[in-house]
């Protein structure tokens, strides 16, 4: 086996989109390597001299193994550098892809519900894209997406496309009233009551802040969704991506290796335990 740490592929940023004041989507062309990341997986992105950060795949480029796309939110030193200093033409190191994927094969033939909050929509965007590309493989689709304000939605330029997915429902929410906003105001988890997928035969993919995911699970279970068909994308302090730095442990699970996508029934004993 090759050394995971030194398997950094040189990448060059070929496109950037400013999504919000704190987030940016960058498209990276891999120069001396290739990969075929699946929805739900992540890469370790490296900025020289600053370090690496785990960032989920946020788009699909079928057939193009030398292109990856990531949406980055400015939270710490490395991501700040990515937002402020990385431009089209900048170099960035990429190693991965790591982790498991959303169970799209398993979900074939079933309805799909997506529940996402804030930057948590980023790892789910490839799922939406996959559904669009393979629409016949799935039943009814509901997409719920919440943000604090209308400006903080990612991929606004694709919303029209999402709302046109046949046999689907695309619902947005914002936390507080906002001038000009005529949609739902409240938590995205409130929208679960408006879903019209078949609860007993639906796969639900959830990603967002931990508290949002906990509430989402509670409401989903109350509505009769099956706990073995609810999947959460967890986040922890990931440093290595390959289960040897240990800092992403979630109970006995290494989020980077056993996850980041977990079936709720496998982690139900941990989800509500503070700091596990």
């Amino acid at each position: 086996m090759s050394n995971p740490f030194t398997s950094i592929i040189k990448g060059v940023v070929i496109n950037e989109i400013s999504e919000t004041t704190t987030t940016k989507t960058i498209t990276i062309k891999l120069v001396n390597g290739s990969m075929n990341p699946m929805p739900g997986q992540f890469n370790m992105l490296y900025v020289f001299g600053l370090g690496e950060v785990p960032i989920s795949i946020s788009n699909l480029y079928p057939g193009k193994r030398d292109i990856v796309e990531h949406t980055i939110r400015f939270v710490g030193a490395v991501t700040r550098a990515m937002i402020k200093a990385i431009r089209v033409g900048s170099q960035i190191g990429v190693r991965g892809p790591y982790g498991n994927k959303w169970p799209l094969e398993e979900a074939e033939g079933s309805d799909i519900l997506i529940v996402s909050g804030g930057i948590g929509f980023a790892p789910l965007r490839p799922v939406v894209k996959y559904i669009i590309m393979n629409r016949e493989r799935f039943g009814r689709v509901n997409i719920l997406y919440g943000a604090r304000t209308p400006e903080e939605f990612l991929y606004k330029y694709e919303f029209e496309e999402y709302s046109k997915i046949p046999n689907s429902k695309f619902l947005l929410s914002i936390d507080k009233p906002y001038p000009g906003w005529t949609g739902y105001v409240g938590f995205v988890t409130d929208l679960i009551k408006y879903t019209d997928v078949d609860t007993g035969n639906s796969y639900t993919f959830v990603c967002g802040p931990e508290i949002m995911m906990k509430v989402a699970v509670k409401k989903l279970l109350e509505r009769g969704f099956r706990k073995d068909k609810i999947f959460l994308s967890m986040e922890r302090r990931m440093r290595c991506g390959v289960g040897i730095c240990g800092t992403c442990q979630f109970g006995h699970l290494f989020v980077c290796k056993n996850g980041p996508i977990f079936r709720y029934s496998e982690i139900e004993n941990y989800v509500n335990v503070e700091g596990i």
């Binding site: 490296y46 020289f48 335990v273």
Partner: protein, 358 residues
């Protein structure tokens, strides 16, 4: 198993024989100021033969004597250094890997609990492929174990099934009964060869009896009086008992000494050290008891200290078995000895077990 006998001088005899036979560097415990370190042993005079350690919760003193136990160091210091350079990278992201050739190494006089800890790392880093550990581990060509007929006050290897006698994963083991009687046993064909080369005599029935009496006594002393399965199941039930975990961790100061001295604690972070035009990627240990464990730019996954102490304990007894089917605690007691406030892991597991057993 055939046992052999010798005197205290035969420990030096074995040291010389194994070193000569394997043509390898010897690493082991040696006196360093008022403590002991795990380091390169240049000559047999450095072996801790005339050393005695007194260890209690939050207490460690080295004196002259015969019953050396162990130290804050362990073979982890060699096999998984606190800081290790992973590779170098320049601004164009060209990577320079390290020279990976390590000299052959003999681990000499390590403890049965140390061997158990190496087994844990072997399995963990074999499953979760870690080339840096495996490379160092492969350099180990011989393991000589010193059994503990005089275990430390904080040791509980008998409960954990890791000592005080050598069980597996060693080439040769010795046990100091007294200055005139040291018992040797081979754990591999290499060990058999060393025994033959060192001209050791077979132990008499009387020798064996004296050894076994002391060993039984050592087993009794290192037994917590509670089964490890009981510890495991009660800990698992206690996960959501915040009040209990706050209580057992109330004295903890979050210094992470326990993590650093634990022979199976491996959690690390990776940092860049920029030197000239290059960045050196360095992996360094970070203990789960330290505040920064679980801290990320966007928040904190284990902000409260009790959650970090709980992780330390649960990882050893509950999570490690789920990860690699071995306990992560080897019963060495180092965490207890080197805790500045003397938090006793034995008391913690007993407290939890007394509430949740049965």
């Amino acid at each position: 198993m055939q046992l052999y006998r010798g005197g205290i001088e035969d420990i030096i005899n074995i040291y010389n024989t194994v070193k000569e036979f394997l043509k390898a560097d010897v690493y082991g415990y040696k006196r360093y100021g008022n403590s002991l370190v795990f380091d390169f042993i240049e000559s047999s005079s450095e072996l801790p033969i005339d050393v005695h350690v007194v260890q209690r919760p939050g207490f460690y003193r080295v004196s002259r004597g015969f019953g050396f136990i162990h130290s804050s160091h362990s073979p982890k210091n060699l096999l998984y250094p606190f800081k290790q350079e992973l590779f170098r990278v320049d601004q164009e992201l060209n990577i320079k890997t390290l020279e990976n050739s390590l000299k052959p190494v003999i681990l000499f006089g390590i403890k049965p609990c140390d061997v158990a800890a190496i087994n844990v790392f072997d399995k963990l880093f074999g499953n979760n492929f870690n080339p840096y550990y495996l490379n160092r581990r492969r350099s180990v060509v011989g393991i000589v174990v010193e059994e503990c007929l005089n275990p430390g006050e904080t040791c509980f290897c008998s409960t954990m099934g890791t000592g005080p006698d050598a069980r597996n994963g060693f080439d040769l083991a010795f046990a100091k009964v007294d200055r005139d009687l040291v018992i040797f046993k081979a754990g591999s064909s290499l060990g058999e060869k060393i025994v033959a080369k060192a001209n050791l005599q077979k132990a008499s029935d009387d020798d064996v009896k004296r050894y076994e009496i002391l060993l039984e006594e050592a087993k009794r002393k290192t037994n917590l009086g509670i089964g490890v399965e009981d510890i495991q199941t009660s800990l698992e039930k206690s996960i959501t008992d915040v009040e209990l975990w706050r209580k057992v961790s109330e004295k903890c100061v979050g210094c992470a000494n326990c993590n650093m001295v634990c022979p199976t604690c491996f959690c690390s972070e990776i940092v860049d050290d920029v030197v000239g035009d290059e960045a050196v990627r360095i992996m360094q240990l970070i203990g789960c008891l330290s505040y920064t464990y679980g801290l990320v730019a966007g928040g904190h996954f284990r902000k409260e200290l009790y959650t970090r102490y709980r992780h330390f304990i649960l990882h050893k007894f509950v999570f490690y078995p789920k990860q690699i089917d071995l306990f992560g605690c080897v019963g060495c007691g180092r965490c207890t000895v080197w805790c500045p406030v003397g938090i006793d892991i034995r008391e913690t597991v007993k407290t939890v077990a007394s509430r949740y057993r049965g």
